[in-house]
């Protein structure tokens, strides 16, 4: 299920503005890849090109190649909707559908895929997804209640359950813990370590301890200078990035000497 992503010379534009330039990287399956870097350097923008969410901004586009197990996600015949069905995403702020119950939130993606599913299969899927997201025990008695009634951390785990219910190949997480308290953050980090057994996970984070705790590989993004596009500075094993990075800017950033 987990798939490898290869990015080759990716340039990302907002209209005529080049936001991110020349990113090439390989994201290994069954691992957590963390993207770190200062605000505005294009980490989130880059993440959103991996499931073609970037182009939802009017006039935004990406040039280059993104291959998932060899299939070009930006090929001329590729439907972005199909890409998004294979690559799930969890957002910065928890965003369960407020008009839906917890149960309906979990199966929202499955219902989109137009699969005819028996009631019992659907029940099993809901339980399995919520268990995977470590949320089942907390919500099993109120599956019919609205998802917006949960706490922030529970809502975020509900969003993760919703994303994995469709069994994606890759899971993208855009600062998934930045709106959460430390306990909820810990719960989500534990969850990431479990989920990486099955999925390819890419996480954008501002929290360097978090990157150090959960990721196998870390990529450091930075702006070349003010007004210049952002880009990938260095990417390596997380232990190496945090102990002996080969780039001076990376070292400054991870040791807190930056800015």
């Amino acid at each position: 299920m987990a798939k490898r992503i290869e990015v080759k010379d990716l340039d990302i534009y907002y209209d005529k503005f080049l936001a991110v330039q020349g990113v090439s990287m390989t994201i290994e399956p069954r691992s957590v890849t963390a993207l770190i870097g200062p605000s505005g350097c294009g980490k989130s923008t880059f993440l959103r090109t991996l499931n073609r969410m970037h182009e939802l901004v009017p006039k935004a586009r990406a040039v280059g190649k993104v291959l998932m197990d060899g299939h070009d996600l930006y090929g001329p015949q590729v439907d972005p909707v199909a890409v998004r069905r294979h690559i799930g995403m969890v957002f910065q702020r928890p965003n369960p559908f407020p008009t839906m119950s917890i149960y309906d939130n979990v199966v929202a993606g499955v219902r989109l895929n137009n699969k005819r599913m028996k009631r019992s299969e659907m029940d099993a899927l809901v339980e399995r997804s919520l268990r995977s997201a470590n949320l089942w025990e907390e919500v099993k008695d109120r599956l019919k209640r609205p998802g917006s009634g949960l706490s922030g951390g529970q809502q975020q785990r509900l969003c993760i359950a919703r994303a994995i219910a469709v069994q994606p190949d890759v899971l993208l997480m855009d600062e998934p813990c930045s709106a959460l308290d430390p306990i909820s953050t810990q719960a989500i980090e534990d969850l990431m370590l479990e989920l990486k057994q099955q999925y390819t996970i890419v996480i954008v984070t501002h929290n360097m301890q978090q990157a150090a705790r959960v990721s196998d590989v870390t990529g450091f993004f930075n702006l070349r200078s003010i007004g210049e596009p952002g880009g990938l500075v260095e990417m390596d094993e997380t232990t190496k990035i945090f102990s002996s990075p080969s780039n001076k800017a990376t070292e400054d950033y991870v040791s807190g000497r930056f800015g």
Binding site: N51, M53, L56, V81, A82, V83, R84, R85, H86, G88, M89, F91, R93, N95, P96, F97, P98, T99, M100, S101, A108, G109, L112, N113, R145, P146, S148, G149, C159, R162, A163, V166
Partner: protein, 327 residues
């Protein structure tokens, strides 16, 4: 920060106990007073106006409610006098709503999610402009333009769909039918209904739209999953506002409809009842004595019905509050 370092500083003397309590009784500020009293004044004012209207209707309608049936126009008592009018009012308004509500939702969706921005803005202005047209103009348009246009189609409806009670016929030769009145009403309530729904659709959180798209929803699926549920109570609210306007609309119906007082679902013949408001407008100038009380009694009924419609709408909206996304 600075106060805590001062406290731990060895040279810092302990503060003498304050002579007066730090927090005295609440201060009454001028701006707060003006705001709260003007807000309350406005709230009370609307209640007073409403109560005044209700009292006027009740007092003036009272004699008609207890009058001898023979003295009421038609000679069958107040209930049988008002009933066809109420029926006509509800039929015209509901049919107008049936036409306008889906159209309003579609227009609002087009403006907010499909049209290019420039076209959307222009279209928004045009819709708002519709609301600025006086109702008598709509009435004249309905009478002189729309009514003749419907004569042929209604004949076709009668011949081919005559088994449906709505189109039983015989089709009117002038076109001054309930169908045309309803269409005119639908056009008139379209702006307010569209405006309310459009606002709601515009406020759909980007977060929820993206949640849906990231799951692999197409645009239409995203609208069904995120936009429509979010706007649900506003759709009901907009529709009910429209219904309220359609119930009370006077001039357009008075001009278009050529009523004969029958109680029938038939939309295309000449046997339609009038509506309460149009009937008051047409008969009031020639009425005196008890007839006026009877007309006002029909107005009281309209008042009650409109109140009921609005309360029902509120109840429908509140029932789904947990799921509205407002929390």
């Amino acid at each position: 920060m600075s106060s805590s370092t001062e406290l731990t500083h060895p040279d810092n003397q302990p503060q003498p106990p304050p002579e007066a309590p730090l927090f005295e009784k609440p201060v009454s500020r001028f701006g707060d007073r003006v705001f709260s009293s003007s807000a309350m004044g406005a709230g009370v004012l609307i209640l007073v106006i409403l109560a005044g209207v209700a009292a006027f209707l009740l007092v003036e309608a009272w004699p008609a409610l207890w009058a001898d049936p023979d003295e009421v126009p038609g000679g069958d008592g107040i209930v049988l006098y008002v009933w066809p009018l109420l029926f006509g009012t509800l039929l015209a308004a509901l049919f107008a709503l049936l036409l306008a509500a889906p159209l309003a939702v579609a227009i609002a969706l087009f403006i907010t999610h499909y049209a290019p921005r420039r076209l959307a803005t222009a279209l928004g202005y045009v819709i708002d402009l519709l609301a600025a047209v006086p109702s008598i103009i709509f009435g004249l348009w309905g009478l002189s333009e729309l009514a003749p246009l419907t004569v042929e189609p209604t004949r076709w409806l009668e011949e081919n769909l005559g088994f449906i009670p709505l189109f039983e016929g015989p089709a009117s030769a002038t076109g001054r039918t309930m169908l045309v009145a309803s269409i005119v009403l639908a056009v008139m309530i379209l702006p307010i209904t569209t405006a309310v729904i459009r606002e709601a659709f515009l406020q759909t959180p980007r977060l929820h739209e993206e949640a849906s798209l990231a799951l692999g929803a197409t645009r239409w699926e995203m609208i069904r999953q995120a936009v429509l549920p979010f706007g649900r109570s506003s759709i009901i609210g907009g529709a009910m506002l429209g219904l309220g306007r359609a119930l009370g609309e006077t001039m357009a119906v008075a001009i278009v409809l050529s009523p004969s007082g029958g109680v029938t679902f038939n939309l295309i013949n000449n046997g339609n009842p009038s509506t309460i408001a149009a009937n008051i407008a047409l008969d009031f100038p020639e009425s005196s004595g008890l007839d006026i009380n009877v007309l006002i009694a029909s107005g009281l009924v309209l008042f009650a019905v409109t109140l009921l419609v609005n309360m029902t709408a509120r109840a429908v909206i509140n029932r789904r509050r947990d799921f509205s996304g407002a929390n």
